[in-house]
Symmetry: C2
Subunit: 361 residues, 2 copies
């Protein structure tokens, strides 16, 4: 694996991750790009005890461009894209319209309440795009094993590097797939967010696992995974390094959680055997999601990693994969109960979802 870092015309960083060590990546970005103005800030919601990102400059960003102007395809002589090279394996670059920006942008002064609480801070962090392949019409599920290993190497690289950026508290690698969930670019790609706060979901898991440890002196994630393995009714797939199951309290019609059999805090901590075993089981799961309905299911695939500084000894890295579709022609919408109250109703019993996913293997 070889990593080559270059600067795009507007100063953003782009990194090539290549399967071969002998490639040379010296194509320059020839576009007349001017740097974008960014003014991201994070605001503290005192009622919910969580941060919200406000990035009001992003309204002009690219929206459903025609496929002949895909900015994630390699550049050709006649058409310059985000990626200067004529081909690539895996590429990571800074989002031109990021929700979070490196310090040094248009800094927002911290705003305090009467009581001294910080209510508004600069939205310091980083938003990156990761292209999984140069093939516009491909999907993650059609990648071969060496390519998945390379994507994993890129996730690990970005997790390590972004964890060292001052102010970054959590690194989130994810993929949104399908127009149904708002994906504006068809080219197979994911994203990496480096947040200046611990996300609400992760904070909730850390609170639960800390309370569980105080009560039982055991790790909550370990016990939840072990119970699923013992119970077996919701297990979808396993190999020697990983276990995939539908959680007992799944929120989505088809939702699978994938855990390494030995607990680690983040992708950077995966050992060689875990890294090598990932492609096999993840491609298997994505194949099942592709076959769920008449056409490949839209999905969100989210790596839940420990924060950079806290709870690393008790968090368990895992991937949550779910589709927002409940039948071929019915979407699961987030309406009042879900959007306003966080109270989810799942129309598909998790045991039935697991059985169906097992049959699709």
């Amino acid at each position: 694996m070889k990593k080559t870092s270059i600067s795009l015309a507007d100063g953003r960083e782009l990194m090539y991750f290549d399967e071969r060590d002998d490639v040379s990546r010296d194509d320059a970005d020839l576009r007349p790009l001017t740097p974008t103005q960014t003014s991201s800030e994070i605001r503290y919601d005192e009622l919910l005890d969580r941060w919200v990102i406000v990035a009001s400059h992003r309204q002009d960003r690219t929206y459903h461009p025609a496929s002949d102007s895909c900015p994630l395809c390699p550049s050709t002589a006649g058409r310059l894209t985000e990626i200067p090279a004529p081909t690539f394996d895996v590429v990571v670059f800074e989002n031109r319209f990021p929700a979070l920006t490196a310090a040094g942008g248009e800094a927002v002064a911290a705003v305090h309440s009467d009581g001294g609480d910080v209510l508004v801070r600069p939205g310091a962090g980083r938003c990156e795009v990761i292209c999984f392949t140069a093939a516009h019409g491909a999907s993650f599920s059609t990648l071969d094993h060496p390519r998945v290993d390379l994507v994993m190497a890129a996730w690990i690289d970005r997790t390590i590097e972004l964890s060292q950026v001052p102010g970054v508290e959590q690194v989130f690698c994810f993929e949104n797939r399908g127009h149904d969930i708002g994906v504006t670019l068809d080219h197979p790609h994911g994203q990496v967010y480096a947040y200046p706060f611990v996300t609400p979901r992760t904070a909730a898991m850390l609170t639960s696992s800390a309370a569980y440890y105080r009560r039982t002196k055991r790790n909550l994630f370990d016990d939840v995974v072990q119970r699923e393995k013992d119970d077996k009714t919701r297990v979808v797939a396993t190999n020697s390094a990983w276990t995939a199951f539908v959680p007992r309290a799944a929120r989505w019609p088809y939702e699978v959680h994938l855990y390494p059999n030995r607990r680690v805090p983040d992708v950077a901590a995966l050992d060689d055997r875990q890294r090598a075993g990932f492609a096999d089981i993840y491609l298997d799961l994505l194949g099942r999601f592709d076959r769920l309905f008449d056409e490949p299911a839209p999905y969100i695939s989210a790596w839940h990693q420990a924060p950079v500084r806290e709870g690393r000894d008790r968090f368990a890295l895992h991937l949550e994969l779910f589709t927002t579709r409940r039948t071929p022609d019915k979407l699961k919408y987030l309406a009042g109960s879900e959007s306003a109250m966080d109270a989810f109703t799942n129309d598909v019993a998790p045991e039935a979802a697991a059985e169906r996913l097992r049959e699709l293997g």
Copy 2:
């Protein structure tokens, strides 16, 4: 106001709320309806410390019926609907395909973990539909003041009655409006959920307000609302009993929180002046949402009420009104960061949203 309760053919309860006291509601439900099978349960997500409703019987429910078969219109001789009467003011009835069901349905035995935690319980509760008018093509924003007062009376009635149902911990009155957010019936209607648990959103607010009280001996809601009133930049509308503002950390492009000026725990605790002043300011707000874009904005309108048993002295009743649309042709999707991490990015600065909503008055 007159309330008349009848039984539908399958045993569900239907209540007429009439503006006039002299109406008679004795039309029988003549449909050959058989009772539906329901097997709702709630499952505890140990990692997130919250309950999820699993109601797997609901997959067959009515989905986008043609408007000539609207089940929420009054019945006619040739077409029988959910409402037996030939006309009505406001009607509330039990949902035929409820996510939560009265005790006595197909009861699920409680399932416990090794440690004795309850992991699965019957989904005891109630889901009701509330029709705001017999006029199929109307919307809440076109109701007149007496009708809004009647809807408020129905919300109060349902909150009081459902709070007394054994096992019910929280009553949630809400309206989803627009296909964009998954509304399957165009007829103006809302819903009432009586949950057997405190919703995650409310639990989070109670935790924050308890911590704030311990630190300051003051009420968090009171201070947040007072700061918005003092600051003024995000206030959208006020009258003598209510104040509406865009919250500083709004998650949605256009989001307004409406508080009574004197704190109460739920709609049942509103005094006469607050009840009388609601129609005025709420219709004003809905009118602004109707004028935001070329066509009326889709929205979720959610009454946040104190739970039945806990935190009633420190919770503040308020209504949260938000649209999922960020521009006339762009939706705010809940993709990876929002759906997987609860980390929201808002593309519209709350101050700009407030200014725009003020201009639309």
